[in-house]
């Protein structure tokens, strides 16, 4: 089966500019996650969707970050305006909730954002 798709793979912007990332999860996966992975750290959950509803956005900096999953399939994550500390890899993951055998999260290749 096709994996989680993300684009772009790399993005370089100047501070105060805006940027958007796109994610297409594995077909049939109802749950979608966005993570931020800063160099030298583990991934940190930013937001979790169940279909097109938000389950958890407690760690999303809502003054500058926004995310949507309007049709319950693909999703976009936006940063506006970007700060230097937003430089990181943004990972998208998806899972099919239900039995323990299907709750594994599958990750996309990530988008590496550099803010200058």
């Amino acid at each position: 089966e096709a994996g989680v798709a993300q684009s772009p793979r790399y993005k370089i912007i100047e501070k105060r500019q805006s940027v958007a990332f796109w994610c297409n999860p594995i077909s049939g996966h109802a749950t979608l996650y966005w993570y931020q992975q800063i160099l030298g750290q583990g991934p940190k959950l930013l937001i979790q969707f169940q279909n097109n509803g938000v389950v958890d956005d407690s760690q999303l900096p809502k003054d500058r970050f926004s995310a949507e999953r309007l049709k319950g399939v693909d999703s976009t994550l936006k940063i506006q305006p970007a700060k230097l500390e937003d430089s990181a890899v943004y990972l998208c993951a998806s899972s099919s909730p239900g039995s323990p055998s299907t709750d594994t999260q599958y990750f996309g290749p990530g988008t590496r954002l550099t803010v200058l």
């Binding site: 750290q41 959950l45 323990p100 594994t104 290749p109 990530g110």
Partner: protein, 114 residues
Amino acid sequence: AQSVAQPEDQVNVAEGNPLTVKCTYSVSGNPYLFWYVQYPNRGLQFLLKYITGDNLVKGSYGFEAEFNKSQTSFHLKKPSALVSDSALYFCAVSNLPRDDKIIFGKGTRLHILP
């Protein structure tokens, strides 16, 4: 709140030798534990998970992990290391099925020396 610790930033092992990457966790209730691997310029790949049952879990690429409840550990192991195992390894924990938020450790870089 759940947390996970990977005490080693880097582990160096000679090719052919056994390897261990350490992980300890803290969670209320029964833990769901995961290991992921990240190769350069690629996303995280699932290796294995512990939900319940046998304490020794077998996963992809010959890796296994041992769940130890008394020591709250979930160390990753492989009997004979390959150079291609060199990568960044992440341990993660969740409170599934109650809360499917996964908390990741900071990662351990594994270097397999030829």
